[in-house]
């Protein structure tokens, strides 16, 4: 297939007429269209998608509504008609494919896609084709199911990274698309068709056996298993429909939740901020209560220095009086002892009789002490008062926690600042979520989680049903085998058909695994060849494929390289696409939108050098950041057929201009 021209009227940002010519010289088969972001590069890719398949794809592989394909400035002028025409050649025939959308009769101002009527037409060698033949023609050279491998954008390259994540939804979709390219569905359909024929033939066989007589028990058993199988298949159909519905609902919720994720996060932050604010306020209240208790005793701290001085003074007086009391006690004791000795003329210490001389000395001493005692007068009330005062002051001077007040004041102050900050945050978040139904978001999240569980449960049921189905099918096969051994039964046409359909079914069933194994090996080899051309790392020896057609880089020792950059991911993805292109179909045009986003100059140079050799036409929609016109194109100059540039006329109006001849 060789693309010739693409022209449009009022399609997306291209107000009025737009037309580009593709390079048709096989030696100069590269076309470059430069355009800044938001100017309409992807719209050109979508023009091709729409004219062939009636669909335009937006972000996250979502279909863009027909209503949104009409140029807005044109609609403001009352013009609601769009048209895209592509001309091309294939297998020696010239084709023109045209798709239009126009305002339906009786609609004054369209407000939804249903208000527009989409029509298409195809001419082959200038002869109009009937509507019923158009799909067959498109499927011959560019089936929609495989279009993602020749009409793709940078986002698709990112999707391939998902292939390494076994079991992801995206992984399953890409695996299906890859197998579609490589012909696996033909074998799956062949197996399914053979199974259906086999089922009908077995029923007919049962009816025939009953008519023959002598095979009633086999017929009855066959009927039993056929009924079981029918019932299980009915269950399976329902389970699969339910699973699809649940998954569709979940995907829809995921999309809806993705859009309001920022809002949900804001609500979460709002709730957290409100909770933290309450905690801070409660803590502040607690601290204030503690502070009040501490303040009650705080006056003591003010008087502490004076009271300490006073207490020390009184205590010193008290100690002095105490020592005086002890001294008086000693004197009184001595007086008492001397008085006894003088009167009894006996020593109080040894009990021996005192001589006259000693008795006189004792009496003299007694008299001196009695005189001394008269000078040792003590005020016991005063002594008692001093003791009491010391005790009271000691009580007052007991240590308190008043010093905690400073810490509490500091903490309360810090909490006040925190609460002010939180108040501001809460106000800002409240403003953000005001008017938004955050409860609805929470409901959707809970429902999405519930659907995930439901999906897993149904998947389990499906597995169980399939196991039971296989068991019943085996039983039925055993009966068929037994009947094959009986000449009369074997002679029936229905029995022959059962045998043939069963053989065909077995061959197709086995061939699916066979093809998958063959494909993996072939795609791995082809992708590795492309990878070695595209990669700038000479140490990389190739790629290894997994069950989902995901590829891992191998180093020079054949060991897997566990970590790779985003740029390397794109090189691997391009290698896989190139491998698939060569494994599954003959070389055709490849249209790439913004494919070099993550790649360095050397990789871009490798791609620009390699891909033109493996495609009939290579069309690249790029921005200046991806391809430098001054430097990157020099080595490719001999292969470039034409270069266009998208120019912005206004926000809703872009124009494509050719900038080389």
């Amino acid at each position: 297939m060789i693309l010739h021209t693409l022209s449009s009227t009022n399609f997306m940002p291209y107000l009025g007429k737009m037309s580009i010519n593709f390079p048709t010289d096989k030696d100069r088969n590269v076309m470059l269209v430069f355009g800044d972001n938001m100017r309409g590069k992807t719209s050109l890719l979508n023009a091709l998608r729409w004219v062939f398949y009636g669909k335009a794809i937006g972000r996250h592989s979502r279909e863009i509504a027909l209503f949104d394909l009409v140029n807005i400035e044109a609609t403001l002028e009352g013009d609601w008609s769009i048209e895209v025409v592509v001309t091309f050649e294939d297998d020696g025939h010239r084709y023109e494919m045209r798709r239009t959308a126009t305002k339906r009769a009786l609609v004054s101002i369209p407000s939804r896609s249903e208000d527009l009527l989409m029509e298409r037409a195809m001419r082959k060698d200038d002869i109009p084709l009937g509507e019923h033949l158009i799909d067959a023609e498109i499927n011959r050279f560019a089936p929609e199911q495989t279009s993602r491998f020749f009409l793709f954008d940078g986002e698709l390259l990112d999707e391939y990274e998902q292939l390494l994540i076994d079991g992801s939804d995206q992984s399953k979709l890409i695996k299906e698309a890859i197998e579609q390219v490589l012909g696996v569905p033909n074998l799956i359909r062949g197996r399914d068709d053979a199974q259906t024929i086999l089922k009908h033939a077995q029923k007919q066989q049962t009816a025939d056996l009953q008519k023959m007589g002598g095979f009633e028990s086999q017929a009855e058993r066959q009927r039993h298993y056929q009924a079981q199988i029918e019932s299980i298949e009915k269950d399976l159909k329902g389970q699969n429909e339910r699973l699809k519905q649940v998954n569709d609902d979940r995907i829809e919720l995921d999309d809806a939740l993705e859009k309001v994720e920022a809002l949900y996060q804001a609500k979460q932050k709002f709730d957290d901020a409100v909770a933290t604010r309450k905690e801070n306020i409660d803590r502040q209240d607690d601290l204030q209560q503690q502070r009040l208790l501490l303040v009650k005793d705080a006056w003591k701290e003010v008087l502490r220095p004076l009271l300490t001085l006073k207490r020390n003074h009184i205590h010193a007086q008290y100690l002095k009086l105490t020592s005086q009391m002890l001294a008086r006690d000693k004197v009184e004791t001595k007086i008492e002892q001397l008085a006894v000795a003088v009167q009894s003329q006996t020593c109080h210490a040894c009990g021996q009789a005192l001589h006259q001389k000693e008795r006189v000395a004792a009496a003299t001493e007694l008299g001196r002490l009695q005189a001394e005692l008269l000078g040792m007068k003590l005020d016991l009330n005063f002594f008692s008062k001093l003791g009491s005062d010391v005790q009271s002051l000691d009580k007052l001077l007991q240590p308190t926690d008043a010093r905690q007040i400073a810490f509490i004041d500091k903490e309360v102050s810090r909490l006040s600042v925190e609460v002010t900050k939180l108040d501001n945050q809460i106000d800002a978040l409240d403003e953000l979520i005001k008017g938004q139904d955050t409860a609805e978001i929470a409901r959707k999240r809970a429902k999405r989680d519930g659907l995930l569980k439901e999906s897993a449960r149904i998947a389990g049921d499906i597995k169980s049903s399939k196991d039971t189905l296989e068991k019943n099918q085996r039983e039925l096969a055993i009966i068929s085998k037994v009947l094959e051994g009986l000449p009369k039964a074997r002679a029936a046409k229905s029995s022959k058909l059962v045998k043939l359909a069963s053989s065909i079914e077995k061959a197709y069933a086995r061939s699916i695994d066979q093809l998958r194994d063959d494909l993996k090996s072939t795609v791995e080899n082809l992708a590795s060849q492309a990878f070695r051309k595209l990669s700038t790392q000479s140490q990389y020896s190739g790629l290894r494929i997994n069950g989902n057609y995901g590829l891992t880089i191998l180093d020079e020792r054949g060991q897997e390289v566990p970590i790779r950059s985003a740029g390397a991911e794109q090189i691997v993805a391009l290698s896989l696409i190139d491998g698939l292109a060569h494994a599954g179909r003959s070389a055709g045009p490849v249209v790439m939108d913004t494919p070099f986003g993550r790649l360095d100059k050397k990789h871009r140079a490798n791609i620009l050098a390699y891909l033109p050799t493996t495609t009939s036409q290579l069309v690249l929609f790029v921005h200046e950041g991806e391809v430098d016109r001054a430097t990157d194109l020099a080595p490719l100059r001999s292969k470039i057929g034409c270069v266009y540039e998208i120019k912005e006329i206004s926000l809703r109006h872009s124009r494509v201009e050719r900038i080389n001849q």
Binding site: R140, E144, R189, G190, A583
Partner: protein
């Protein structure tokens, strides 16, 4: 951009040789041609390939009966 499916047919013939060697390669090629012809059918005409295959198998049985 035509998908020639040679690998798919080769896989079918190889698988049949392993599990059902008595099946004729011609019958398998014809049955595979039916699937290729109908590979992009819409769901509303999904049964068309099955009907064609049924006719092929009926015809094969009839031919064997007539021998």
């Amino acid at each position: 951009m035509t998908d020639d499916n040679d690998m798919a047919l080769a896989a079918l013939l190889k698988a049949a040789a392993d599990v059902e060697p008595a099946l004729s390669a011609e019958l398998l090629r014809k049955s595979f041609a039916i699937q290729r012809r109908h590979q992009f059918d819409h769901d509303d005409i999904r049964e068309a390939s099955m009907q064609d295959l049924k006719m092929l198998l009926d015809a094969t049985v009839d031919v064997e009966d007539s021998k």
